[in-house]
Symmetry: C2
Subunit: 327 residues, 2 copies
């Protein structure tokens, strides 16, 4: 399957070319999405079938990419997975998701599994220790997605958490708010560390000292964990007049806690979320947030396997500040 055969060269772009459609349409057909015009889908399927003839030979030994995602409850991952799926389909990888918590488990067990399943590539979503990364990369290609270990040279795709958080906090400061709280995730995550750093540096630029009691690090990104903690903060005097939250789920908790205390958003409490998930749109008022290019993060992670030994393998993708009605 490693050979220099023709089938390696067929990808979504080739199919798109022959079918006279866009590569993203081909991806949607390959992923069996419903939002493709039926006639277009048939046309693409015909082209796929033509080219399929060659691909079929590889099917028994399709390369498998394993995604290690310990927690699927955050919808944030779903869009990244869509990007990974599209790239996997385009490159004829098969995708499997594993939920082993690699930082807290018998790594040998996992390595045995990787060998037994003949996995070709592993995508990790948590920052792992250098020793674990070294052991894993001794038997398999590893790409780090979102979270990465800066001490390792392994490829990664990420965003600039520090400046995204700093910029968002400065937006809060520009509205005149001065009592700003941070609702953060578990400190074991690199993003949590980096966003707290960005948050603090923004306050420093405005000569504001951080209030320790308003720097919250939750054990998990869960609405039901955040709600009582934010409520408690808001019931005290003085309380924050703004929050930077590292997830839209947490931003939704702030908005609903404020409502409970009849505090108006954004007049009394301004809120910024993170991720631009569906929650930021359905909450009232809609949540100002930071968009991560989730599909692209996923797609790029898979692409990194293709040029695994190239130099440019540390990707930092751009975030986007999305203004809605919560600041």
């Amino acid at each position: 399957m490693e050979g220099n055969n023709l089938s390696k060269k067929i990808n979504a772009y080739d199919i798109a070319k022959v079918a006279h459609v866009s590569p993203s349409t081909v991806s949607r057909v390959l992923n069996h999405k419903n939002n493709v015009n039926l006639i277009t889908a048939q046309k693409v399927e015909e082209v796929i079938k033509k080219l399929e003839f060659k691909r079929n030979k590889d099917k028994n030994t399709a390369k498998i990419i394993l995604l290690n995602i310990p927690d699927l409850s955050n919808t944030f991952y779903a869009d990244i997975i869509e990007g990974i799926k599209a790239a996997a389909n385009a490159n004829q990888y098969h995708l499997l998701i594993d939920q082993t918590d690699l930082g807290n488990t018998d790594i040998q067990h996992f390595m045995n599994l990787v060998r037994r399943l003949q996995i070709s590539g592993l995508i990790t979503f948590k920052q792992l220790s250098l020793s674990i990364l070294n052991r894993l990369s001794s038997i398999i290609k590893v790409v780090q997605c979102n979270e990465f270990n800066p001490a390792s040279d392994l490829p990664y795709v990420t965003i600039n958490d520090y400046s995204a958080a700093k910029d968002a906090t400065i937006q809060l400061l520009r509205t005149g708010k001065r009592n700003i709280g941070l609702i953060n995730g578990p400190k074991s995550f690199r993003y949590a560390y980096e966003r707290e750093r960005g948050f603090k540096d923004a306050l420093k630029e405005y000569n504001i000292s951080t209030t320790k009691e308003w720097l919250i690090s939750l054990p998990a990104i869960k609405y039901e964990i955040a709600l009582p903690i934010v409520s408690q903060l808001l019931s005290a005097q003085p309380h924050p007049d703004a929050f930077f939250c590292v997830s839209d789920t947490l931003g939704a908790a702030v908005i609903n806690a404020a409502q409970k205390y009849r505090l108006r958003v954004p007049a009394d409490i301004a809120v910024i979320g993170f991720d631009n998930t569906m929650i930021s749109q359905i909450i009232t008022p809609p949540l100002t947030t930071v968009n991560q290019p989730r599909f692209q993060i996923g797609y790029s992670s898979v692409e990194l396997f293709k040029n695994f030994d190239h130099k440019n393998r540390h990707l930092q993708l751009e975030t986007e500040f999305i203004v809605r009605n919560s600041i």
Copy 2:
């Protein structure tokens, strides 16, 4: 690994007994959850280590259960997966998630994969044709989760979609509403068929004929697909004064579309969702919904593998009507 060895007998309940904690605490420790008291976690870990000695022998050949979940964007699945994880850990299965769309793909390819990965059990989440189920079950134990094919005798865990939908619609009718719309998912799903049947029968009981234009079947359970369609319904005259939605995500779309037209919920538009996901709590007003025992559905699916050839292998778990503020 099939043998009658002692390790088979160790499960979460045994560990719980020795550690003097509840089985759910053991599950949380096994799943590396953060919401366990540290001292308790250490105590449990010690007991696990003691028993682990026996389990280690099995690790190289751990039985693998494959979950086939084509779409992970619905948070509904996350809680089911948590239940599956807890049961898998308790029974020393390893869990993998596969996203192959079995209804729309080359089944031989998937069967080759199952063989190659030496999968012990497969849990499906979509209703598959009898021929596909027969082919799969010729090489592997198959348990159907949520969706099932009634023509097959394979085990399943499900809820009574028909009566859950009928009961919910009757709740709407009892509030005095008479112009009721249905926002449904793709007709290819059994739940969609059954819930529509329940919806229609409820209307029949009140001698109300269904309005065809108000029976919406969406190509996917997506907020952004539902929003414009519900908006269009609400902009017409006459428009529905109530909606039964087969998902909380769709219920959220109804609430926000109503808000756009300055229609009050529930006075002008009453709404019932389905699933009791986080969305039903964060939307304003909070959504009346139907709770599915998601954790239990997942847990039971795995348990079915243990007594695979027993008689009682068609489980229908109870739903619960959750009254909030949208009716």
